[in-house]
């Protein structure tokens, strides 16, 4: 049984505590003497602070203290940016934890109130008087880059001028001569041009952000409970900002209720909470409200893209050229500069053979909430460009979009393929994935049905996406070369107790992805213990080995490899011990399903439990073998992994109302061998729906003065179950050649594929009506207006 545990659909062991309400989140932490903090957010998109008066708030019932930027200045260091993009003229603007002079987005913190209860703290916020002199604001990244736009920052942290709000200018160029490719296509081929708005999105983790800080004045030790995706990175950053040495700093990510990228960054409010705890010598809790979450927790996407594709008349792609204005918000969040560049531009050739490519990305400061990774992080924005352009090329040439894809795919490869951006993809069969999808969905027959024309005013549309993504981040040498201020390896400690039960300590920090289950499956399948005998520990920097966190679909791909290799070390040692117990030589030993035996005599075996007991009591061990049965592995991957797939969306658009109905969706994903297919499917479901949300409903909207007007769940349209069809999830299995388990990653795949698939489907439906482009989200109003305009009424 145990050898088949890899790939079995066992139920997630996390779920009982999650669905019975017994999980412990940051908000559930209660400590003796604890007080509560509330942050005063400025509410202005851009303004100069002229006066702050806190006396009334200080005198309010229950209030313990009120602090402003004057108190934290020089005590809390500015927020660090941890992705120092090289060769990009990166200008990091100073990012104070509490703004003292100028506020640059509505969520900027200007003061904090600490009170005996959260309600008293929030009530006292009302009593702080702040006078502002409003300054002009700018939200659109392209507008912000124009001459004459309001400027957010005069100088960067090194004292260099920041001009035109430009945070960086990054370029990727690969392959042949892109200018020549376009010149040739202009002369004797086709050039497709499009403007794409990747609208700003708001991640919506079920648990908002929050922190609890406890400082022991006698020992100088600080414990920070925080809803984070990467506690070890946060410990490092917290040490930098607060000055508490790393050895006295413990970060705990208790149960974390989702993140989608928004809990990668370190946030000013976390460190302000620490500041209060250190000042007061009492534990301090800060929990964000949903409304605060919308205006203070990082957003995603926000690209204005001008893109062009060059091709031959028979549909072969010859070049791709893009200019992107990426809105970074008011300050550079922790990993922000790497998202619209490394994770975006390097994936621009997708699953296609593109001989020449160039992209210019301008990172631009705006008066919006800082932008960070959001599920997919850069790859959805790249996939959308390609998949939209390929569809437009097909339309121009009168070809089926599937056929244009097939014509341009990189042929099947098993062990490495270098693409035009210099990445070396690990393995893939893009034509195979698409042809399986087409066959499974009856694509050609659906096209026939579509040719019959609209029925009852409803137009059918089909939208394809073929994607490949980069995940399993990544080799640490590469991390260094691309300016990431950390490593990207993962670690695991596997410890066998005398009774054969297993504790596993991992550096990664799952927060909803189910690795407590899949990691136990890895251990069980590698060494034949029962899944129930394996406990996975994560999220506490004091008890787990260093790790770089859960994002970029890397936890199973990198952390899972570390774990598998650690268990294999245990197996090797166990074999030596078993041979000793059986008085045999190690070379003669065999292993199967948790049993060690002399080749040919499986009936006389020592189980892993036998070995664990002997290794722990150490009464008789072979010469030179240490007591205990424990192994540690630090796994630094030799390359990234490149999952891929093909998705099909089917829609019906009501031309009379502009209403789009997603009537069918099929996702084919290849993430290599699946440890637990149910969990894989769950990841695909959630990912697909988030991408559909971007295509059809979601978008952060600001008014002309920089106020976020989609500031609540009333105004920001998250997908609902009743708006979605059953999702059909299928797969192919192509192992990664360089990974110990062959696995890739699947956390972001759905989001990367589905936005473009749904958008293409809607545009396909609207073709007979003469509509060629509509900005996302494709709300009924926008679609209806586009139809009216195209029909000339």
């Amino acid at each position: 049984m145990s050898s088949r545990i890899f790939g079995s659909r066992i139920r997630r062991r996390e779920d009982p505590r999650l669905i019975t309400g017994s999980a412990v989140y940051t908000g559930d932490i209660e400590l003796p003497g604890m007080v509560h903090a509330a942050m005063l957010r400025c509410g202005h998109a851009h303004a100069r602070i002229t006066r702050i008066a806190t006396e009334q708030a200080e005198a309010a019932p229950g209030v313990v203290a009120v602090y402003t930027g004057v108190d934290t200045d020089g005590v809390l260091q500015p927020m660090p940016c941890a992705w120092l993009l090289p060769d990009a003229e990166l200008k990091i603007a100073p990012y104070p934890c509490i703004a003292k002079d100028v506020v640059r987005y509505t969520g900027d913190v200007v003061a904090v109130v600490v009170a005996e209860s959260a309600h008293e703290a929030y009530d006292a916020l009302d009593l702080i008087e702040v006078d502002y002199e409003p300054l002009p604001a700018v939200i659109d990244p392209e507008e912000a880059a124009r001459a004459g736009a309001p400027e957010l920052h005069a100088k960067d942290i090194n004292g260099d001028d920041i001009s035109g709000n430009q945070a960086f200018h990054w370029t990727v160029a690969g392959g042949g001569d892109v200018e020549l490719a376009f010149a040739e296509a202009e002369a004797d081929g086709v050039v497709i041009k499009e403007r794409i708005l990747q609208q700003r999105l708001i991640p919506n983790a079920m648990e908002t952000r929050g922190a609890v800080a406890q400082y022991n004045r006698a020992t100088g030790e600080l414990t920070l409970w925080n809803t984070t995706q990467n506690p070890h990175i946060l410990r490092f950053l917290c040490s930098v900002v607060t000055g508490v040495p790393e050895d006295k700093l413990r970060v705990i990510a208790p149960e974390v209720g989702g993140g989608f990228g928004s809990k990668i960054a370190a946030y000013p409010a976390d460190f302000v909470t620490v500041f209060c705890a250190m000042r007061l010598g009492r534990p301090v809790k800060w929990i964000e409200s949903r409304s605060e979450n919308y205006q203070a927790t990082t957003h995603g996407r926000d690209h204005v893209q001008d893109v062009e594709l060059a091709a031959t008349k028979d549909g072969r792609i010859t070049g791709l050229r893009c200019t992107v204005y990426a809105g970074m918000g008011a300050y550079l969040s922790t990993a922000a500069p790497g998202i619209p560049t490394i994770l975006h531009g390097l994936m621009l050739s997708g699953c296609y053979t593109i001989p020449a490519l160039k992209e210019d990305v301008y990172g631009v400061y705006t008066n919006g909430v800082p932008v960070e990774a959001y599920r997919g992080a850069g790859r959805p924005e790249a996939t959308f460009i390609l998949e939209r352009l390929v569809d437009m090329l097909a339309n121009r040439l009168g070809m089926d979009p599937a056929d244009v894809r097939i014509k341009n795919f990189i042929p099947k490869f098993d062990d490495g393929h270098e693409v035009v951006t210099t990445l070396n993809y690990d393995s893939g069969d893009y034509p195979g994935a698409l042809s399986k999808l087409l066959e499974h969905t009856g694509y050609r027959a659906l096209r026939e049905r579509q040719r019959a024309g609209p029925s009852n005013g409803k137009y059918m549309g089909l939208g394809l996406t073929s994607y490949v993504e980069i995940c399993g981040l990544g080799p640490s040498q590469v991390a260094g070369a691309i300016g990431f201020q950390g490593g990207l390896w993962e670690s695991a400690i596997v410890r066998f107790h005398p009774t054969g039960k297993v504790h596993v300590f991992i550096g990664a920090s799952p927060h909803g992805q189910g690795e407590e289950t899949t990691f136990a499956q890895i251990v069980a399948s590698e060494i034949g213990v029962d899944v129930a005998d394996v406990k996975i520990f994560h999220g506490d920097t004091d008890s787990t080995p260093m790790g770089w966190g859960t994002y970029g679909s890397r936890t199973t791909a990198v952390g899972g490899a570390a774990l598998a290799l650690a268990v294999r070390k245990i197996r090797d040692k166990a074999k030596v011990v078993a041979a000793h117990l059986l008085e045999a030589s190690v070379e003669d030993m065999d292993y199967e399903d948790g049993k060690f035996f002399v080749k040919g005599s499986p009936d006389r075996a020592k189980t892993i439990q036998d070995v664990a007991l002997m290794a722990n009591v150490a009464w008789t061990l072979p010469e030179g073998v240490e007591a205990g049965l424990e192994a540690t592995t630090f796994y630094d991957p030799p390359n990234f992994v490149f999952p891929y797939g093909a998705h099909l969306a089917v829609v019906e658009v009501d031309a009379r109302t502009g209403h789009v109905e997603l009537t069918g969706y099929t996702a084919l994903d290849d993430c290599g061998p699946q440890i637990n297919p149910t969990i894989v499917e769950g990841q695909v479901h959630g990912g697909v729906v988030q991408g559909v949300g971007q295509a059809l409903w979601e978008g952060a909207a600001y008014d002309e003065s920089g106020q976020l007007v989609t500031g609540s769940m009333l105004d920001y349209a998250l997908p609902r179950a009743d708006q979605l069809p059953d999702l059909d999830v299928i797969s192919t299995v192509t192992p990664s050649p360089h990974h110990p388990l062959g696995v890739k990653g699947v956390g972001e795949a759905g989001t990367i594929a589905s936005t473009a698939a749904v958008y293409n489907a809607v545009m396909d439906a609207l073709r007979p009506l003469g509509v060629t482009r509509v900005d996302m989200p494709l709300t009924p109003e926008r679609v209806w207006r586009a139809i009216q305009e195209a029909q000339g009424s």
């Binding site: 509410g43 009302d126 409304s291 205006q295 106020q707 976020l708 007007v709 609540s712 009333l714």
Partner: protein, 153 residues
């Protein structure tokens, strides 16, 4: 956000003007107005409780009349802030003789910048709420004007 509205009074221009510059009348007619006190020339400090969508709150601020041109019009400058957010606005109030004797037309056009929770949560409803508040304010003034006229000499 922009607002504009027109109202007709069954009262002569001077009478309407007197009402429109009388802080006590304004305070009693303005929905949710708790107090309004003179703090400088043509400048008042006001406290209002207003509900927009689910966001109800108390606002404190200043109201200033400028460019006074009796009995033809003035500019109203409003600055207010409270827990639910802030409002900065200006409105021009113009009085003109009505089409019949003893009647007055009042036109209001204004611009406002709002921020904070009311902007995030209530934006869609702000236009409607402002219009409703203005309608209630002027209908109260209209009643006052009629009452004064009827009871007058």
């Amino acid at each position: 956000m922009e607002v504009s509205a027109r109202y007709t009074f069954d009262a002569p221009r001077q009478r309407v003007w007197d009402l429109l510059v009388d802080p006590e009348v304004i305070a009693s007619c303005l929905p949710g107005c708790e107090s309004m006190e003179l703090v400088g020339e043509d400048t008042y400090r006001a406290t209002l409780t207003i509900g927009v969508a689910a966001v109800t709150g108390r606002y404190q601020g200043t109201v200033r009349m400028s460019d006074k041109d009796e009995p033809s019009g003035y500019t109203l400058l409003v600055e207010g802030k409270g827990r639910p957010g802030f409002v900065n606005g200006s409105a021009s109030v113009t009085l003109a003789d009505g089409d019949a004797d003893g009647r007055t037309r009042v036109a209001v056009t204004g611009k406002a910048q709002v921020g904070g929770t009311i902007a995030r949560v209530g934006q869609r409803l702000l236009g409607g709420v402002s219009k409703m508040m203005m309608d209630r304010f002027f209908s109260c003034l209209q009643q006052r004007a009629r009452a004064a006229e009827g009871g007058g000499p």
